[in-house]
């Protein structure tokens, strides 16, 4: 019995080493020759799940759009659920070592990692989101979403739709993208009527769907008739809004299909525009140093109105007006 076990284990370990040796050629970076037959290789490292209907899904969707456009010309690798910054750093470094042309670090917590790793790989383009800091490094781009813009537009619509003048917001933690969106939303709602009471709850978790749903229930019981929220756990909140026959505004991903009679509009990120620019810049020899913003003007952010919900012409006109105002700068979204 012991002999069998030892033998099997030895065989397994040998097999692993053989497999490891077979890896070595792949680990070498491809020749840096400008051949148009070589596909562009992009790697993405992201903190949550690829189908979270929120942050990570948005970048995954963008890459799928690019893949559809570029076909064989694009090859991409995706590493999701890198919520441990360490692991993400290892992943970013690994992809760069493997010779990926563009490495996208899609998480604001990856900043330090990018700052450390980028100088070691001058031939690799690093894109860090969602932020504006490129650290002054020649091969780092930064991109962010001006989610306060989409938040503002959503807030305006919500302000016009609410009859009880009470709006509820279900957020995860008061940081980053969530905070930006919520701040914009509150400003938008108040711009319609300063007496509107926008109540914000942060439930302290990105994944507790049950708590998010009770937060929504609490808002509704307290009189809210329009709701919004950010991050993946809000699917619980949307469900409650649907049950109560109320309106919801979505962000980060198109939530319209999730509850067609409830979600009035979703602010959707289209990162592909930014990615196309990064690719073009790289072809022109520029490896970094640019800051991109996904906003309403450049199509990086889009407000997807839900076709299943009838909006009055007044509201639709106002939406157009507000978007135009944000784009031409006449509307400035106040910071809290």
């Amino acid at each position: 019995m012991k002999k069998v076990l030892t033998l099997v284990s030895v065989l397994l370990v040998v097999a692993m080493f053989l497999g490891a040796c077979a890896q070595t050629p792949v680990a070498e970076p491809p020749a840096a020759v400008e051949e148009t037959t070589q596909p562009l290789r992009i790697a993405v490292v992201s903190p949550s799940s690829i189908n979270d209907l929120a942050f990570t899904q948005s970048i995954s969707d963008a890459l799928m759009v690019l893949k559809a456009e570029m076909g064989e010309g694009l090859e991409y690798a995706f590493t999701e659920n890198m919520f441990v910054v360490d692991d993400a750093a290892a992943a970013i470094r690994d992809y760069a070592t493997k010779g990926y042309d563009i490495v996208i670090a899609h998480g604001s917590q990856y900043g330090s990692s990018v700052q450390e790793i980028a100088p070691d790989f001058p031939e690799t383009v690093f894109a860090w989101g969602t932020t504006v800091d490129t650290f002054g490094l020649p091969n780092v781009h930064a991109y962010e979403a001006a989610s306060d813009q989409g938040g503002y537009v959503n807030g305006v619509m919500a302000g016009m739709l609410t009859k009880s003048k009470i709006i509820g917001v279900v957020g995860p933690i008061e940081t980053g993208d969530a905070k930006l969106y919520v701040d914009g939303f509150v400003a938008g709602a108040k711009s319609v009527d300063p007496d509107i009471d926008v109540r914000v709850t942060y439930i302290g978790s990105f994944s507790d769907v049950a708590l998010a749903s009770e937060a929504a229930t609490t808002h509704i019981a307290a009189g809210a008739d329009v709701l919004t929220g950010s991050a993946q756990m809000v699917v619980g909140a949307i469900g409650k809004a649907e049950e109560a026959g109320l309106y919801w505004f979505g962000t980060q991903a198109d939530q319209n299909a999730f509850a067609p009679s409830t979600v009035v509009a979703s602010q959707v990120y289209h990162w592909e525009g930014i990615l196309r620019e990064i690719i073009a810049l790289r072809a022109a020899g520029i490896m970094g140093g640019h800051t991109f913003s996904a906003d309403l003007q450049n199509g990086g952010q889009v407000i997807n109105l839900n076709p299943e919900i009838e909006l009055s012409d007044e509201i639709k006109a106002k939406v157009e007006e507000v978007i135009a105002g944000i784009n031409d700068g006449s509307i400035v979204i106040p910071k809290p």
Binding site: K2, T6, V8, S9, L12, V13, A15, M16, F17, L18, G19, A20, C21, A22, Q23, T24, V26, A43, P47, I50, A77, F78, T79, E80, N81, M82, F83, V84, V85, D86, D87, A90, A91, R93, D94, Y95, T97, K98, G107, S108, Q109, G111, S112, T130, T131, V132, D133, A146, D148, P172, I173, E174, T175, G176, K179, L180, G204, S205, F206, S207
Partner: protein, 387 residues
């Protein structure tokens, strides 16, 4: 055959058998990976390529090995705490929270007092990390000893509370002033001064923390096997019924066990900040900061049969498994969820393999002449022999 020859043969067989027993966790891991291979195939990945990538990612290059060591450091520290605590018959599942509090305390210090010489700052930071972990472990300990509040309940709650404290501080009072102004509002602290960071073996991320952890492992070994206190701790851990009649002893040992294992976890948290990231950052969850080291460290200790010195290679191997699994994901592009499931399988298999190891050990001992000895005595004898 002359008698000396016979004994020599038996001794050799005994040694080989002993080594075989020690390798049991490795066999268990391989068994788990075999099961994992089935999942890999179902997902359309080639298991050979996949596991080759795992081995490569864990040990295949100098940089890969360095990454493994970086991953192993918190595992080793938490594992050492477990080695002590477990013998006081306490499984401390509050490691996640203790790591966080230890990190918060040491980070706050490093960012507030910026005029000290680097080496001094690091030592104080280490002490604060230990203190933070001790507080967070001590509270459940005291609640247990004096209020009979079960430690599983209190540590589960304390973990959750620690996360909220971390979130509040990272987005509030301890946030990087740069972030406060920026629109991105990343919940992270400012970076530690260059001089305050643990030295690294460039160009890898291997930092001094590993060396400190190894030295601590040796220290723990001496504590447990060469001091009277250590002997008592081990004795209590061995013979439960006797200590139960002691009453107070058990209580005190639970407090001490939680204090000590908390201390190590807190130090692990400090190392993550001072050695790896140079700042503290939160994504809202405990795992985002700790990487599950609070749990995986316990497994590493079991891997190492709760012996502080064996926990060193055990942590390296387990760390390699974790690092390699991530590398595997990148090569064969399987969903990361599979990696988590594999992690779980390995834990279950390794924990289960203890049974076979102990049984084999018992058989060997009874064969080599300690037939009349009770299993625990034999184990103690065995350990004494190994020590």
């Amino acid at each position: 055959m002359p008698p000396k020859q016979v004994t020599a043969d038996l001794h050799l067989k005994d040694r080989a058998g002993s080594i075989f027993d020690q390798m049991m966790p490795i066999f268990a891991t391989l068994a788990a990976l075999l099961v994992g291979a089935i999942f890999l195939m179902l997902l359309g990945a080639n298991p050979l390529t996949a596991y080759g990538a795992l081995a490569q990612g864990a040990f295949g290059s100098f940089n890969a090995f360095a990454e493994t060591l970086v991953k192993a450091t918190p595992l080793l520290l938490v594992g050492l705490g477990t080695c002590i605590a477990y013998r006081g018959s306490v499984t401390n599942i509050g490691g996640e929270g203790q790591m966080i509090i230890g990190a918060i305390l040491s980070t706050w210090f490093g960012l507030t007092f910026t005029e000290l010489p680097g080496w001094l700052a690091i030592i104080i930071a280490m002490l604060l990390g230990i203190l933070g972990g001790m507080i967070w472990g001590g509270i459940p300990g005291i609640l247990k000893a004096y209020f009979n509040v079960n430690e599983i309940l209190s540590t589960v709650m304390m973990n959750a509370i620690a996360v909220q404290i971390m979130n509040f501080l990272m987005r509030g009072p301890m946030i990087d002033p740069v972030q406060r102004e920026a629109s991105s509002q990343i919940p992270q602290t400012a970076r530690l001064l260059e001089s305050y960071r643990l030295p690294r073996l460039s160009p890898t991320r291997l930092h001094l923390g590993l060396l400190i952890a190894i030295l601590l492992a040796v220290a723990v070994y001496f504590l447990l096997w060469r001091t009277t206190l250590g002997y008592r701790i081990r004795a209590v851990g061995q013979s439960q019924p006797a200590s139960k009649y002691g009453g107070i002893d058990v209580k005190k040992h639970i407090v001490v066990a939680l204090l000590l294992s908390g201390a190590f976890a807190g130090l692990a948290g400090m190392m993550q900040v001072y050695g790896v990231n140079y700042r503290m950052i939160t994504d809202g969850s405990a795992t985002g900061f700790t990487g599950n080291a609070g749990f995986n460290g316990i497994v590493a200790a079991l891997f190492g049969q709760l012996h502080p010195l064996i926990t060193i290679p055990a942590s390296v191997l387990f760390g390699g498994l974790l690092v390699g699994a991530n590398a595997m994901q990148r090569v064969v592009q399987v969903p990361s969820a599979l990696i988590t499931a594999l992690n779980g399988l390995v834990v279950v298999f390794v924990v289960s393999s203890e049974f076979f190891r102990k049984r084999s050990q018992k058989r060997r001992l009874s064969q080599s002449g300690t037939e009349q000895a009770k299993p625990e005595e034999a184990e103690m004898q065995q350990e004494a022999g190994e020590a």
